[in-house]
């Protein structure tokens, strides 16, 4: 048994233990389980939101993009910052509505604001449809990291199975609170790993990050400006993608829902102010990708850049540490994804769609059972079709962005109507699906989701102005 293995297994087990412990002594009702009883202060909210943003995709994807695409990877730095800036205005208003009406999920909001259960069911189904590939990507990422970090000693399927049975356990018992507590471990380990590698490798190979960039600019200067080493990711693509993903980020049902877990609207507002600092580690992840570009140019798979460089540079126990950090980094967002997917199905599809008279305990019990069902389903997909769902993820991201007009206009504009939102959302989704599935993304140099959002926003406003708004005494 090697030391890397011990570190990986111990971390996974301790994390699950902490997650289960977090829910001890909590009387579980639906509000406590999904939004932690609305009691999170600044630190837990920050950790939770950071836990959702920093996924395995950030870890491997950001370094992979810096390695294989170059400058277009910078959009990751940009879109997060835009998302937090927007959240400064959107989330506190949303939180107040959520508090007043006891909302737990995104479809809850649509049902309340537009007085339409059918709109809620549609939003819930679209949300779940978008979450599943995201979850599957986390599973696959976890398996990949652990397998590489343990030098093949732990096959990917074993790692996925073990980590997800344990994740399931703490989501089942502790709900969102469990995820927030595990996020503490995840953040400390991930920041340590990124700090050591991101600062370490440019210094070890070149003397300093500045010298690394000098070498890169001598070897291939065009890698560091748009479109980098890609044929079609020019400035227009970066601008539209950063805008779209920035607008869309808080439209993910799980991110949206976790905003309700804050103690007050002020906490949410202050959180938005400090969130951009969390982008700085991404710079270090880019350093790793760029160093790999110079040191191991022969590498075929960009996603391997981070791990391969660590493997060449650091002792095996540190590789184990990175593997462990990668595993927890997948577990936290997955926990939140599973939790919200199951609440969406139980509360907004089953209860709102079919059984309005269902009791809250029934909904909670059903949500918990669905945690097991959804995890099993995602596991099954991750093992059988490891690569098929990546395209669905792009579709999912561009899809959830289409909620933006309904959410934001709903908060700040009294004239917006149910028909307007239905029309905009429907057409927006149709455009996105058409452009992506027929291979027309990017369209006219712009991100397909952005094209959909423009039409969607226009239609939402136009149709709203021509239909009667609902009475405004409730919101």
């Amino acid at each position: 048994m090697n030391v890397a293995l011990v570190i990986i297994f111990a971390t996974i087990a301790i994390s699950a233990g902490v997650g289960i412990f977090a829910g001890r002594r909590q009387k579980m009702n639906l509000e406590n389980w999904t939004v932690a009883g609305r009691r999170f202060g600044l630190i837990l909210i920050w950790l939770l939101m950071a836990g959702e943003i920093y996924t395995t995709f950030t870890f491997l994807g950001a370094s992979g993009w810096a390695f294989s695409k170059g400058a277009p990877a910078f959009y990751i730095l940009i879109y997060g910052t835009l998302a937090y800036t927007l959240s400064f205005f959107i989330l506190p208003a949303l939180w107040r509505v959520g508090k007043r009406y006891g909302l737990h999920t995104q479809p809850d909001y649509f049902i309340k604001r537009y007085d339409s259960r059918s709109l809620g069911v549609c939003v819930a189904l679209l949300g779940v449809f978008s979450i599943i590939p995201y979850l599957q990507l986390q599973l696959a990422g976890l398996g990949f990291i652990v397998e590489v970090a343990s030098n093949g000693a732990v096959p990917s399927h074993t790692a996925i199975l073990l980590a997800f049975v344990l994740t399931c356990a703490f989501v089942y018992t502790s709900g969102l609170r469990g995820a927030a507590w595990v996020a503490i471990i995840k953040d400390v380990m991930m920041l340590a790993a990124v700090g050591v590698v991101g600062i370490g490798v440019p210094i070890l190979y070149f003397g300093s990050p500045g010298k690394m960039f000098e070498a890169l600019m001598a070897k291939m200067p065009e890698h560091l400006v748009f479109p980098g080493s890609t044929p079609d990711m020019n400035v227009g693509w970066v601008m539209s993608t950063a805008l779209l993903t920035g607008l869309g980020f808080y439209m993910w049902p799980h991110v949206f829902g976790s905003a309700f877990s804050a103690k007050s609207d002020k906490i949410i507002k202050r959180n938005a102010i400090i969130m951009p600092f969390y982008q700085i580690p991404i710079l270090l992840i880019f350093f790793v990708g760029f160093t790999a570009f110079l040191v191991i140019p022969e590498l075929q798979n960009g996603d391997m850049a981070f791990l391969e460089l660590v493997n060449r540079t650091y002792p095996p126990w540190f590789m184990g540490f990175v593997g462990a950090a990668g595993a927890v980094t997948a577990m936290v967002p997955s926990a939140i994804l599973v939790l919200f997917a199951s609440t969406l199905l139980a509360k907004n599809v089953y209860q709102a769609g079919f059984r309005p008279q269902a009791k809250e305990e029934t909904v909670l019990r059903l949500s918990r059972i669905l945690v097991l069902v959804i995890t099993t389903f995602a596991l099954f997909f991750a093992i059988l079709f490891p690569n098929e769902l990546v395209n669905l993820l792009i579709l999912g991201y561009d899809g959830v962005c289409q909620f933006f007009p309904g959410v934001v206009l709903g908060l700040f504009w009294k004239r917006v109507t149910k028909s307007g939102v239905f029309t905009g959302l429907g057409v927006g989704i149709a455009i996105v699906a058409f452009l992506i599935l027929t291979g027309r993304d990017p369209f006219l140099g712009m991100n397909a989701g952005f094209v959909g959002l423009l039409v969607n926003g226009f239609l939402t406003v136009a149709v709203s102005l021509n239909t009667k708004p609902r009475r405004l005494d409730t919101l």
């Binding site: 910052t81 500045g210 600019m217 560091l224 400035v235 601008m239 202050r270 102010i273």
Partner: protein, 74 residues
Amino acid sequence: MNKRGPKLALLFAAIPFLTLVFALPLVNRLEPVILGLPFLLFWILLWVVLTPPLLFAAYLCEKKFNRGDEGGDE
């Protein structure tokens, strides 16, 4: 209700959008290298780091001009 606070706040919050999205075509270049970073990356990083102070300024604006409108639930 005084609307000046929220308006000023929106103005501050518009800055990251201007610098990090709309200014990109103008800064898509390598030179000058600042702090060892190629200019494009330096520019992006600069505005990422400056966003929290900008949002804090927006926060103060809302607070100053708009007492009583925000945060009734705390």
